[in-house]
């Protein structure tokens, strides 16, 4: 098996003339939960969007399992922030989760029994099978995140990119999502999460990339998630770290 799930080389990106990412070199080993951590506006979401070809980088690019994205697209899953969609859309939870199976669907083919079954299993894994028939507009924030996670699971990729999966959710959803992440890791899958809660990084992730428009530090949590690196990423002056890290 290829020990590197994905890597970027000299990836740069700008919105208009405003550079957001500069020369990002990132290596994600297979079978880890990697956190991309940094302050607001550091370009965390932008980085994974640029890697997945959802934004066009100025320079550089990403490869997955040693190949360009187009060759291995089925193996790469993406969970966007749940705030990016309109939850008034007329759909039930099961309809949304089934969307995760659409990548293998040909023209004129409807999702049928096997696709629905995969979606139901994914809902089971995220702990919300009872919501399958629920109208999506009636879900809480944590339930929405779990629906999005289930949709990514239904796709059954090898490598997951999740944009802020722990954003604005209740404790139960948090535990459920964490359980899924760790189960995926046990199965040898790789997970990259955009994360901004410094207090939980060490509990959730094995690897971390500290990002602030460029890579400040990357590696295992023990190596890279150090006081000095965090201070540099968050641009905190040396003298003032009272209450910043406990």
């Amino acid at each position: 098996m290829c020990p590197v799930a994905c890597r970027t080389r000299d990836l740069s990106f700008a919105y208009g003339v405003d550079p957001v990412l500069r020369g990002v070199d990132l290596v994600v080993p297979t079978g880890v939960v990697m956190g991309i951590v940094g302050p607001n506006g550091a370009g965390k979401s932008t980085l994974i969007k640029a890697m997945l070809g959802l934004l066009r980088p100025l320079n550089g690019g990403a490869e997955f399992f040693g190949q360009p994205l187009a060759a291995v697209r089925q193996k790469v899953g993406y969970m966007p922030q749940s705030t990016t969609v309109d939850w008034d859309f007329p759909a039930r939870v099961l309809d949304v989760v089934t969307m995760g199976t659409y990548s293998g669907l040909g023209w004129l083919r409807r999702p049928g029994r096997p696709e629905r079954d995969r979606a139901l299993v994914a809902l089971e894994q995220t702990g919300i099978p009872e919501l399958a028939g629920q109208q999506i507009g009636e879900l809480s924030g944590g339930q929405r995140q779990r629906v999005f996670l289930a949709r990514a699971l239904a796709q059954a990729p090898e490598l997951y990119f999740m944009d802020e999966p722990f954003q604005g959710i209740d404790a139960r959803s948090q535990q459920a999502i964490l359980g899924v992440l760790h189960r995926l890791r046990e199965q040898g899958r790789t997970v990259v999460i955009v994360h901004h809660d410094l207090a939980t990084v060490a509990d959730y992730c094995d690897h971390v990339t500290l990002l602030n428009r460029r890579v400040i530090a990357a590696g295992s949590v023990a190596e890279a998630f150090t006081r000095a690196n965090i201070r540099e990423a968050y641009e905190v002056p040396d003298a003032d770290d009272s209450g910043f890290l406990r």
């Binding site: 919105y15 208009g16 969007k49 997945l52 070809g53 959802l54 187009a70 697209r73 790469v76 899953g77 993406y78 966007p80 990016t84 969609v85 309109d86 008034d88 859309f89 007329p90 759909a91 039930r92 309809d95 949304v96 969307m99 659409y102 990548s103 669907l105 023209w107 004129l108 083919r109 409807r110 999702p111 109208q135 949709r151 796709q155």
Partner: protein, 294 residues
């Protein structure tokens, strides 16, 4: 077929043909884009008339639909450039195209038979005037068959692309991550919308065609909790609205498309009121219940 039956059928078919793509237009929040398209097709129609001398010609409709697509692609391009934000790009592109059309009409270019009134609200009865005959028997207005063709095309497209259309409408970013060609699908879809608007222009005019596209779907959106239900409700509301609106206009001796639009608007208002009252009622009922002990 009697003139009345033919015209009623034309009203219903036009309304349903417009309302079907309207479902995805409403879900993608592109309602005003339809307004922009319906104005921008005017110069296409006039220039197309110059070449074909037939307002019902498929070639004319195709050419004008391409003009409508100019608005879609042009405003997308301007929006992506990051120099103009929000829906300003549409506001920049379509008035210019519409004005070109108006000038061409007033200059009597190609002797096109369009007066300002017809451009704004269309004239269903005039559109139904040319009757088609099969083996010497009248089979209704020939324009009815143009709209039937459009309806069939829309149905086929939606049936063929249903899963893709659904996921791109709900979550375009995720759809792209699945490898779905979202931009290509959008362009084809907007071309179909443009084609539909152009074809319906004759019957509904530049302004009222927006009502035919948007209002039934917006009403169904208030009521439906699943997309297939929303599609079915939209078709029902469009057909019912066309019948009732036609009757309203007939009774009042007013413009048919205006009657249809007014009736659809009324349906929407009543549905909105109904759902609001229902929601308030349910909230009150929920408040009266004791909090669960956890």
């Amino acid at each position: 077929m009697s003139f009345l039956v033919g015209t009623v059928l034309l009203a219903v078919v036009t309304a349903v043909a417009c309302a079907l793509p309207g479902v995805f237009v409403v879900l993608r929040r592109g309602s005003m884009l339809v307004d922009a398209i319906s104005h921008a097709v005017l110069p296409g129609i006039v220039v197309g008339y110059f070449f074909t001398h037939d307002l019902d010609s498929p070639l004319l409709i195709l050419g004008a639909a391409l003009a409508g697509l100019v608005v879609v692609l042009g405003s997308e391009y301007l929006g992506r450039s990051g120099l103009v934000t929000g829906d300003a790009p549409q506001g920049l592109v379509f008035p210019a195209l519409f004005s070109v059309g108006v000038i061409l009409v007033t200059l009597n270019f190609a002797n096109v038979h369009l007066d300002t009134h017809a451009v704004l609200v269309g004239d269903l009865n005039l559109a139904a005037f040319d009757q088609a005959t099969l083996a010497g028997i009248s089979i209704g207005p020939s324009y009815l068959y143009v709209m039937l063709g459009v309806l069939l095309l829309n149905l086929t497209f939606i049936a063929a692309c249903y899963p893709r259309l659904t996921v791109t409408s709900f979550d375009p970013l995720f759809a792209r991550s699945l490898g779905i060609g979202v931009r290509r699908l959008d362009t084809v879809f907007m071309f179909l919308v443009s084609l539909t608007v152009t074809a319906a222009f004759h019957a509904a005019g530049a302004i009222l065609v927006v009502a035919l596209v948007v209002v039934p779907a917006a009403t169904a959106h208030l009521l439906a909790s699943r997309l297939l239900v929303m599609l079915a409700l939209t078709v029902g509301i469009a057909a019912g609205g066309a019948l009732a609106g036609f009757w309203l206009a007939y009774a009042l001796d007013a413009a048919t498309s205006a009657g249809m639009a007014v009736f659809c608007g009324l349906c929407f208002t009543l549905t909105l009121l109904g759902t609001r009252l229902d929601r308030r009622h349910r909230r009150r009922a929920a408040r009266r219940q004791p909090l669960p002990v956890s």
